[in-house]
Symmetry: C2
Subunit: 411 residues, 2 copies
Amino acid sequence: MLSGSASIDHTNAYFRHGGSHIINRLSSSYRFALLQTDAGARLGELHTPHGVVHTPAFMPVGTQGTVKGALFKDVEEAGAEIVLGNTYHLFLRPGDELIARRGGLHRFTGWGRPILTDSGGFQVFSLAERRTITEEGAEFQSHLDGSRHQLTPERTVDIQARLGSDIAMVFDECLAYPATRDEAAESMRRSVRWAGRCRQRLERLRAGATEVLLANPGQAQFGIVQGGVHADLRRESAESTRAIGFEGYAIGGLSVGEPIDLMYQTVAETTRHLPADQPRYLMGAGTPEDLVECVSRGIDMFDCVLPTRNARNGQLFTSQGRLNIRNARFAEDDDPVDPACGCYTCRRHSRAYLRHLHMAGEMSAAALNTLHNLTFYLDTMKRIREAIAFGAFDTFRQEFLRSVSRLSQDS
Amino acid sequence: MLSGSASIDHTNAYFRHGGSHIINRLSSSYRFALLQTDAGARLGELHTPHGVVHTPAFMPVGTQGTVKGALFKDVEEAGAEIVLGNTYHLFLRPGDELIARRGGLHRFTGWGRPILTDSGGFQVFSLAERRTITEEGAEFQSHLDGSRHQLTPERTVDIQARLGSDIAMVFDECLAYPATRDEAAESMRRSVRWAGRCRQRLERLRAGATEVLLANPGQAQFGIVQGGVHADLRRESAESTRAIGFEGYAIGGLSVGEPIDLMYQTVAETTRHLPADQPRYLMGAGTPEDLVECVSRGIDMFDCVLPTRNARNGQLFTSQGRLNIRNARFAEDDDPVDPACGCYTCRRHSRAYLRHLHMAGEMSAAALNTLHNLTFYLDTMKRIREAIAFGAFDTFRQEFLRSVSRLSQDS
């Protein structure tokens, strides 16, 4: 068993809380333990101040402090051990300072398990309006009300410190696909410089050298490897980011429209340059097939809006592939969505009923579909972990890929 | 203990099922037991083929086969023993014949507890377009797609038989308020004639003399007393409806805009003409105060969209009155919606968080608010029943009315 070398230890560090000095025993329990490897896949445990995450793990996306279409009790019942929160959204509404005054994102939302926050970079590049990127950071207008804001590497560290997530991400530049090699190189190097500034800022926060209210002193910070689909740039980015030193490493800039094989290849080329004893997080991916394929290439953590977003559109993931509940052939289908699934939706309701709810525009359609899709994703991760533990990951992978391609992709 | 005189007994009756004769032991368990009375309030048990409903009872509205904003497991957890389904909506979509082929509304929806269906009359008068009312029935256009339909007393009996609810309602004419005395009288007498046709039709169905597929052979049928706010018309309607003979009696045509005192007075004047040993259902009411006041006037059953509809708009019912979660004063309020409430929403989330979800337009805002409001309504009914059991209903009533008026009605 390899144990994470980058665990945080701030015992008896000072930090400021609401403007007044407080001596705080920072009982940081951040630690990653790699338990086993099998056919490229890794079984691990990520210890955080709010509990353990068994990896490979999928993180449901909780953009605005809630997983869309689901109550946290249902997210827990589906088996989620960690959720993702979006810094961009929470910064704009209700505001990181308000959340900090409530005691951080865990206490504000009532979700007591681990939380990872992104840095807001992706949303600045995909959602915000009239953005200007300089070496200093990003200026943009809110997609909500057009108000002007600035996000810098330092600022996103402060915001995430106030949110008090268990894992914070560095601020990176998200390049559109396709980009030229030069664009990818330039952008990647800027992201590395920004990563350095993020790390410096966090160290100042940890040392208590700022007025920032730290909602979670045990917060870890992950670097992000960029470089498009260029193996040499990915290598350079991985090495530069490792040189700064983080508690974990993410792969950004994938799942943005590139061919699927190129994505898998880039993942494989990147993970080989990442430390074995720290967690690796593939940002924004993906389909159930992507999860399995990227686990086989050494990924430990995933997040994606697919299970929740597609649920709201009526697309359901099953052990036999995808189905769209709008389809007329389900109008009198008394079977559950997935006979192999044990979720509340499948235990209690038929495809005919779910189709009716969807066609009638009922909110419970989205809720029941979301519950099922989350369960399918989280069950898949559980099955992946079991397969690795039994040294049977490659068999599992082949059977899984065969099984989920059975239904026509009718959406 | 008075026992219901109108219980159904069809043991070994014949009825048609899908066109072929089937001998069926109709194990109808419909029965109403009046257990206790106290200060005008009645404690009872309504036995139905799908279980017992403790009265006074509140029925959450499940218009399209789902309670808006809630999953059935949450409706159960909130304490609902019966829900209401809307015949008009289910007839139009997905259709009563489709539901009958699925085995009826219970099997189709996955809700296994008792269901009461209205007759569609109210929706024809409030939702449908270009309606024409004749002695035969109502012709109208669907609010969904403009398609033309006809509902007659006989047809609504057949539809509800296919839905297989535990309690079916007769088809009645719903008069707009205000109406002249002559209009109210004429309309009421037509409703009585329609009620007679509904009863005749149900008797034919029970005798197996039709091709209608009965999804629930133990289905009971309630008559509806009309007559506006005129005591003499209410009396005439009650007596005529009793003369036809039903398993229970509803009061219709109230909570439609008349002054609240006039509603309470009309309820009191109507219940005195209804049989003591059968359940009384006040249709479409009301506020928490209405429930308590009408229980004191002898009502056993209620339904209303207020808890669910207002939840979606951010209005929350509490033991101290109503509050609207949109209000800026809740932005940093860490208290639960109602400290006296034990629902999931109040156990886990703060007003600040609920306000954030509502302002962000998250579906979970509606879901959490709905869960709370339903719990408040159903808890109120439980406290009413306990108060009656202890002979303390009048004390409860006075304290309840004082308590819920404490907060300003700020919505």
